[in-house]
């Protein structure tokens, strides 16, 4: 049996979970040893694991099982014609189901395993119920700190599992042991150097997230192959060159960094060689990464860790209340909370408080700076609300800190929404082409209904979501009354930016005059678009008509026949010429009306126009539905 190298505690928890058959999520950065832990468990409990890897093409049938087409065509849908997939195999035989990188699979696929985890039963369409073997156990792995190409997992999923975290990096001593164990032929001094470099990559002031153990292993592999070179071909590469190749792309720089990744690694390598090391930084806490990866919805799972988290939140809340009460006697309410906390009574966490009394909390932010630890507990809607109220009075540094928390949240949510919105497109079935995903069920259905027994390429069909290239301009009214809906508006803009990534898309903000945030052919990252929308200043008067003229100019750059404009506004123009006559110029005009007590006269006028559709935007609006309607329905 191999050595566990400092993962003893986590493994013990995993084994306990196995014995009580509670599903486990193992989280950790890439290279933190998730897979190793599972293979260790496999050997220890002498059970086979059935593995599947999450990626976009993993659908339900690939996970559960499928009907063998040959038998199905002969005998119809029955147990005999069914071939179980990895999940069902584990479920039936009592094996370990290992779902690697579960958050890279579509969220819908994950839903299938949920009931099984809970009720130990799976329902297979056209076949019926299958009961789980008592030994069935499921492990899911999730890479931390990687948002690209991942999906949000449903909260119900977290509810059913225990989360084990490998987020805390191993100590330098442990690392050295691991490296020595795997590369016994490498000079211990060199191993020490690689370990130091790995550790230093986390301490460099320009680095946000340092390199993983993988980077260290890769560097050692390259160094080893350099050592084994025959003498006459001795390579001229220095430690520095090889360090850059294996480290540079694996570190994440802080947004304000003025060095490139290569320069940082060169700096690190030189420092390690001359022993001018950076002092240890305060580590990236696991809580922080939980937040950025999973958003507020994923945080409150009911596990052991959860309770600790709650206690930690309350402790921090109490601390800040006390601090506030000390500096500002006027914070009576907070003072009360602090007093209660001291007396051991129940205490309301700041996350709840910021919803109830956002003004008080906002003031606290301005006066005390941002208590970063606490921000993590405030949900994104409350946070954007607070941001809206106080951004004008915040220092640039604090503003950046808040944006850094808010934008990834909004982007991640927008992504999930736009993924769901995609499905509202109509599915067409097209003839088969090599390399295309084909729909086996649809094909078999078709053959069965036509009575065909012999397959031919004509009977095979491929699903394709109908997606025409679109040209859309989004106009955002930034007058005071509208910007109150900031969170919804930012989210709408972000979802649209996602949905329309490959299409012609422009964003114009308008108040007294129009400002282009993104023009039609301009490439802008969604991140910076969201940032700009969040930072929109609310202006004095509203000139809808010149915004529409600008929108027209944008669309004129294209020769598409369909010209769509989406306007988010309260439709109360207070400046400029009468906008109605400009509206005739667009083939499809979508008015997204922010909620008001009285309908504006312009909306009434719009209702009579043939090319106009009116949508209402309020805090209860279903964004998926709204955007699907705006984009996919004509």
């Amino acid at each position: 049996m191999e050595v566990l190298f400092g993962k003893e505690t986590v493994f013990q928890q995993l084994e306990e979970a196995y014995n009580s058959k509670i599903p486990v999520i193992i989280k950790g950065f890439s290279g933190s040893g998730k897979r190793f832990l599972i293979s260790y468990l496999e050997k220890k409990v002498k059970q086979k694991s059935f593995r599947t890897d999450g990626n976009d093409s993993l659908n339900t049938s690939r996970l559960l099982g499928w009907f063998d087409p040959v038998t199905t065509l002969k005998k119809g849908y029955c147990e005999e014609s069914f071939i179980p997939g990895p999940f069902l195999k584990a479920l039936k035989t009592g094996g370990i189901f290992f779902f690697q990188e579960v958050n890279r699979a579509p969220s819908e696929t994950v839903n299938v395993v949920l009931t099984a985890l809970d009720e130990k039963i799976v329902v297979v369409p056209k076949l019926g119920e299958i009961k789980a073997h008592p030994d069935f156990f499921a492990i899911f792995s999730v890479s931390e700190g990687d948002k690209i190409g991942t999906h949000l997992l449903p909260r119900a999923f977290y509810d059913r599992c225990i989360t084990l975290s490998l987020s805390l990096p191993p100590s330098n001593e442990t690392l050295e042991l691991i490296f020595k164990h795997h590369y016994p032929s490498i000079d211990p001094l060199l191993i020490n150097k690689v370990t130091k470099l790995l550790d230093q990559s986390w301490q460099h002031p320009q680095v946000e997230a340092g390199a993983s153990i993988n980077a260290g292993i890769q560097l050692l592999r390259l160094l080893q192959s350099q050592i084994s070179e025959p003498e006459n071909e001795l390579s001229s590469l220095s430690f520095l060159d090889i360090a850059v190749a294996s480290f540079a792309k694996k570190i994440v720089l802080v947004p304000t960094a003025d060095m490139t990744q290569t320069e940082v690694v060169q700096d690190l390598a030189r420092r390690v060689e001359t022993n001018r090391l950076f002092p240890p930084k305060k580590r990236f806490t696991p809580k922080d990464s939980d937040f950025t990866e999973w958003g507020s919805s994923g945080k409150r799972f009911q596990t052991l860790k959860d309770k600790e988290e709650q206690e930690e939140e309350i402790r921090l809340s109490a601390q800040i209340y006390q601090e506030l009460a000390k500096t500002q006697p006027s914070y009576q309410l907070l003072y009360e909370y602090a007093r209660m906390a001291v007396q051991g009574g129940a205490i309301t966490p700041l996350s709840t408080l910021s919803k109830a009394v956002p003004d008080t909390v906002s003031r606290a932010f301005i006066e005390l700076g941002v208590p970063a630890d606490l921000l993590l507990y405030i949900d994104e809607i409350a946070l954007s609300d607070i941001f809206l109220k106080i951004r004008g009075r915040l220092s640039d540094e604090v503003k950046q800190q808040l944006l850094k928390l808010l934008i990834p949240e909004i982007m991640q949510k927008a992504r999930v929404i736009s993924e769901r919105g995609k499905h509202s497109g109509t599915i067409k079935y097209l003839p088969y082409e090599p390399g295309k995903e084909w729909d086996i069920y649809e094909t078999i259905e078709r053959m069965l209904s036509l009575g065909e027994k012999k397959p031919s390429y004509d009977s095979i069909v491929c699903p394709e979501v109908d997606k025409r290239k679109k040209a859309v301009v989004l106009c955002i009214d930034s007058s005071t009354s509208v910007i109150q809906m900031m969170h919804r508006i930012t989210l709408t803009a972000a979802v649209l930016a996602h949905c329309l990534r490959d299409d012609h898309f422009a964003i114009i903000a308008f108040d007294t005059s129009p400002h282009i945030i993104k023009s039609i052919h301009q490439e802008r990252s969604i991140y910076s678009v969201v940032e700009d929308v969040l930072l929109l200043e609310s202006g004095g008067r509203t000139d809808i008509s010149s915004a529409l003229v600008e929108a027209k100019k944008q669309l004129a750059k294209l020769n598409q026949a369909e010209k769509k404009v989406i306007v988010i506004s309260d439709f109360e123009p207070t400046k400029g010429v009468e906008p109605i006559r400009n509206i005739h110029e667009f083939t499809d005009f979508r008015a997204v009306v922010t909620w008001r007590q009285k309908l504006s006269p312009m909306v009434k006028q719009l209702q009579g126009l043939r090319n106009v559709t009116i949508h209402n935007l309020s805090n209860s609006t279903n964004l998926v539905k709204l955007i699907s309607e705006m984009l996919f329905e004509s």
């Binding site: 040959v70 700190g145 792309k249 090599p434 390399g435 397959p455």
Partner: protein, 276 residues
């Protein structure tokens, strides 16, 4: 033992990069080549594959590339006859390279949707992929993945997951030095005079350094320019300017902070180079 002498003979300059390539291919570490257009990413990868003398599987990233096209698919008519098995599976470039211990060359990986790259992740570190309805495909000895990507900020590229960067050794290809460029131009343009080669390369280099130009031209621009100038001669500055405009204008992008259009910038650059 890998013999890289043909690689070294066919590529001008790039000694360090070639050595890292060689180390990575020996250690079996996946390789990621990053560089601007015209820095010779594809050429370098192809030459490496040539000197390795292994089967070569290539795929190019674009918007419609999905996981299935990378790994492989089932032939539908055969499946309906024989069911899902290795027999009815058509290996894609990834599965092909793994099954035959070849080079998997994924060109322009960041022009494919971010999600498609997920399909290659397990092949990179464990040398195995799990094909639904088929099972595990293990990589044979010799399997070597090579990727090329464009720098992040370029139009039409998608961000790649960290898990991907984490698994590859990275080689950054900067633009060639002016001496290397001149050598390349002389190699590619027969009968080119020293004067023309120098002028073409200096002009391209100037497009990298000009403050109003965001993206400059590449050695391709220098080669084309040298070709045309060899035909037209270097006597008339007006003609030189015309030729340069037609070759370079569409290869550069002016920076957003300037009002000047690209062809005006080219004229400026020509004047600057001609006047030293």
């Amino acid at each position: 033992m890998v013999d890289l002498s043909p690689l070294k003979a066919n590529i001008i300059g790039r000694e360090k990069e070639i050595e890292i390539l060689s180390l990575s291919s020996k250690a079996g570490v996946p390789i990621l080549l990053e560089g601007d257009v015209g820095t010779g990413k594809t050429e370098l990868a192809k030459q490496l594959a040539d000197s390795l003398d292994r089967p070569f599987y290539r795929i190019d990233g674009n918007d419609s590339l999905n996981a299935i096209k990378i790994t492989g698919w089932f032939d539908p008519a055969l499946v309906l006859e024989k069911g899902f098995s290795m027999e009815t599976f058509v290996p894609g470039p990834l599965a092909g390279a793994m099954l035959n211990g070849g080079v998997f060359f994924f060109n322009e990986a960041n022009r494919a949707p971010s999600e498609s790259v997920n399909a290659v992740l397990s092949a990179l570190d464990e040398g195995v992929i799990y094909v639904p309805r088929l099972g595990a495909i293990k990589a044979k000895e010799g399997f070597l993945p090579i990727f090329t990507i464009n720098p992040r900020e370029h139009i039409g590229t998608n961000p790649l997951p960290r898990a991907f960067y984490d698994r590859c050794a990275w080689i950054n290809l900067e633009h060639q030095s002016i001496d290397d460029m001149i050598e390349i131009v002389k190699l590619r343009v027969p009968d080119v005079s020293d004067e023309i080669a120098l002028f073409s390369c200096q002009l391209v280099k100037m497009t990298w350094d000009h403050p109003d130009i965001e993206t400059g031209s590449s050695v391709r621009g220098a080669i084309q320019l040298a070709y045309l100038l060899t035909l037209r001669g270097m006597d008339d500055p007006e003609i030189i300017s015309q030729v340069a405009e037609s070759v370079i204008t569409k290869k550069i992008v002016s920076s957003p902070s300037t009002e000047k259009e690209e062809h005006i910038l080219v004229k400026e650059v020509v004047k600057m180079v001609l006047n030293g």
